[in-house]
Amino acid sequence: MSDIIMIQAHHLTKQFPARPSSPAVTALSTLNLTVKKGTLTALIGPDGAGKTTFMRLVCGLLQSDSGSLSVCGYDVQQSPQAVQDRIGYMPQKFGLYEDLSVMENLTLYADIHSIPPDLRQKHFRELLDLTGLSPFTARPAGKLSGGMKQKLGLACTLVSTPDLLLLDEPTVGVDPLSRRELWHILHTLSEEKSLTVLVNTSYIEEAEQCQYAYILHKGQLLADGTPESLLQYARGRCYAVRVPQGMPPRFIQSWLLDDRHVVMDAVPEGSQVRFTVSSRQLPNHLLLQNYLPGAVITPVSPRLEDSFMILLRKAGSTEEETPGMPSLPKVPPAISGDTIIEAHDIVRRFGSFVAVDHTSFSVHKGEIFGLLGPNGAGKSTTFRMLCGLLSASSGTISVYGVNLRTARARARSYIGYVAQKFSLYSTLSVYENLCFFGRAYGLAAHKLQERIETVAGQFHLNNCLSMAAGSLPGGYKQRLSMAAALLHDPPILFLDEPTSGIDPLARRTFWRQITGLAARGTTIVVTTHFMEEAEYCDRIMIQDRGRLIAIGTPSAIRHQGGDSPTMNEAFIHIVETGRQKEDS
């Protein structure tokens, strides 16, 4: 590491003017930031923090309003081309040509950067070896997995041998295995090639691997420092409470989170729930102790995520308004073990490709059931078959005792469905959307009005009933989707990646809602790519390459995954062992 400064931002401010659809936004306000040559620096923060805006400013793609920004020794505003010649920028959606092969993509980017032909072969070989793409040079980019696409994007960005590499959320939508490989590549680049790397990420554990981190929130710098020094915000405030046998950890988490003024954050993790408190001392009495009098609470060492959550909480939630939480029973309801969804030997083929291969499992009444897996593992396909969006090539699925093949429409009346992307009618008002979906579920007249009132109250939508659904802020949209899915009070709720793209605070709130729903007996089937969210589930199922490789409670899965401390590692372990077994 040297003292040469690659990026120097001083009082950098960027505003986006008001548009008819949105008010004026201050994307960055008086940001001071320094990146030294040869370091791996992380920019962390929830969506809308200003991370992408900063990168686009560094690239000279946007003009700042005030302050100064120099990159590689050049003022970006004055000489954007000089900067652009020296940097490599990989945006969230990298421009790969899906119909071109891996090699053709690389060649294209080499042509764009006028790399002399004699240098190419050696350079390409290095990049392909680094990214592990050598065996796939002839494969069209569109046929690569999410992780491989990102690696190819990285290789294309590196074709021009930049001095500074900018990566905008390179691991979004990438499964844990590929994420680990991608970070391995970044470390190699940083250490062996002494490349300067700036990474935007919303995964806090990734920032832990960097030498320096900046925490942004709504355009403001909340804190910066080495991951080690950032721990100071959480030191002495982190505790864990042991989860008694038979108690779902999410209940303890909810009781903790409901203690809003004392508890800053709480997350289930294996047989304990980690939480942070607002003061440097554990209060004498926690709300939790009303429910769990003999709770065993022990101090634990802080993590970067704890600091991050404390800083965010102090800066104020990004949510406009936190809806009232459904109350929880004092004693968690026991899960009966009655089967509510049964999949027997299901197979789904797309042409010759087998997306789901002879899979059987069942979901019990009242539980939260999680579907996990790397991209392309078959979890989306399984999920879509369960909610009747896709028919199985063979095998049977019954939902609430109804065979999906013979009585699909009836089976669907028992389920609620929340898609990953907001998928209600944007031009229709909130009320019109609710009316339509209520009617689609056969609710009429008085009953319909009554249910609309109930869910609108439950999800705090009363103030925006006449607004067009598309004009709602993100958090409201998700609540509306939930409200529409629960209008007919379904016994089963399907959630497809419900927490992707929402910030960590909103994610806690969301899971608190789900815990409340499950406590009232709704069965919930959820897919997620946040491995730690598996801890909220009663049981989870892991698929890889179309096959079911693990199913059970989070602690059983953790055990199967070599008693790993985090779900992420357990997951990687299980998938790798599964693949080794299959390959041998």
Binding site: G388, R412, A419, T427, L428, F437, R439, A440
Partner: protein
């Protein structure tokens, strides 16, 4: 609720939703009104084969009372407008070349002398052959004026006289034939595009999955998606009808009820095609391409602009699967000739037959392509 009333309730919910989604979108609101007016007016003013304005020049070498009288017949029609009076035939090429005049009349110096002598008096017309059909029409008009002049002068009837009466369009104004045909054409365009986009738009916005997980059956969705474009098509047909009736003042001879029945049946036969396109197309862009792929041949093979009898036999047979052909024929007959239900009913058979093919096809595609 019983299953039938539940089905009807579902369809009702879908129709309300579709209409709201279409009408609340400012972009589609514009598409509903403006093209009808623009196309209606454009076609009304441009699609006419009548010659209403013929600029002409004259070389009158006779300068007699008779020549002046003959020319006054021409000027009196209101169609011929004299733009130049030339003094010598050398000037003719100039006025024709720069398109100042479409026709030049040369009256020779012996015109009155010949007339008085009871001989044939030739008058020369020179027309601009770069536009043969207009030139032909103009020359035809001149000769019919000459015939009238002959009769008037000689005071005796010619031996054979053609008295042509054009039924249902006595003044032979082509606009009368064109404009009523636009009613089904514009409705077709809109219905095809609206129905085509309906599923593709939902698919692009991700709302289609949300729709498919509800207990709505594919058949309910199909009907719920078919009715709103038909309703909107009928509103547009009415808009066009008003334009024809009140702006272009073309009198509707037949019954309004039969006209609407015909349009409705026609739209039912088209909506199945639109929905089939919608089920097959992957996105809205594809829908537009498919729509134009169907629209152009449907319009060309409908007899809207060119008579079907002039087409090669193979194409004439193809027109039988084109609902537009029957719709245009039926609507012209109702509008201009006052044909009743019994007269136009046979045209319903091919239209309904087509609906009987395209609607189940759309239903099948919905079931197989959508899930």
């Amino acid at each position: 609720m019983s299953s039938l009333s539940l089905t009807l309730y579902h369809i009702y919910a879908l129709i309300i939703k579709e209409l709201l989604a279409t009408l609340k979108d400012p972009k589609s609101r514009v598409i509903l009104i403006v093209p009808v007016l623009v196309q209606g007016l454009l076609f009304g003013y441009t699609a006419t084969y009548n010659l209403e304005h013929v600029p002409y020049a004259v070389v009158d070498e006779d300068h007699s009372h008779e020549s002046a009288e003959f020319l006054s017949h021409l000027d009196g029609t209101g169609i011929f407008e004299r733009v130049a009076t030339l003094s010598s035939p050398q000037q003719i090429s100039q006025v024709i070349d720069n398109q100042q005049a479409m026709l030049v009349l040369t009256i020779p110096s012996d015109f009155s002398k010949n007339l008085h002598a009871g001989k044939t008096a030739p008058v020369q017309t020179i027309t601009d052959g770069r536009n043969p059909s207009t030139a032909g029409l103009a020359a035809g008009y001149v000769s019919s004026i000459a015939t009238a002049y002959n009769q008037k002068r000689s005071g005796q009837q010619s031996l054979v006289e053609i008295r042509s009466r054009i039924w249902y369009n006595p003044n032979n104004i082509t606009r009368h034939m064109f404009l009523p045909s636009l009613i089904p054409m514009l409705a077709l365009t809109q219905v095809l595009i609206l129905a085509g986009l309906s599923v593709a738009r939902e698919r692009e916005n991700g709302t289609f999955d949300q729709l498919l997980v509800t207990p709505l059956t594919p058949l309910e969705i199909l009907i719920g998606k078919a009715v709103p474009p038909i309703l909107i098509g009928l509103v547009q047909a009415s808009l066009m009808l008003c334009l024809v009736l009140f702006w272009f003042k073309i009198h509707l001879v037949g019954s309004l009820a039969v006209l609407y029945l015909t349009i409705s049946i026609f739209l039912v036969s088209c909506v199945g095609l639109g929905l089939s396109i919608s089920a097959v197309a992957k996105n809205m862009q594809q829908v537009m391409v498919y729509c134009f792929l169907f629209l152009l041949p449907m319009i060309l093979l409908s007899g809207l602009a060119t008579p079907i009898r002039n087409m090669p036999p193979v194409l004439q047979y193809i027109t039988y699967i084109n609902p537009m052909r029957f719709a245009i024929e039926a609507i012209r007959r109702i509008y201009l000739e006052g044909a009743g239900l019994s007269t136009v009913a046979p045209a319903y058979i091919p239209m309904l037959a087509l609906a009987a093919v395209t609607l189940p096809l759309a239903a099948w595609l919905f079931r197989h392509k959508l899930s």
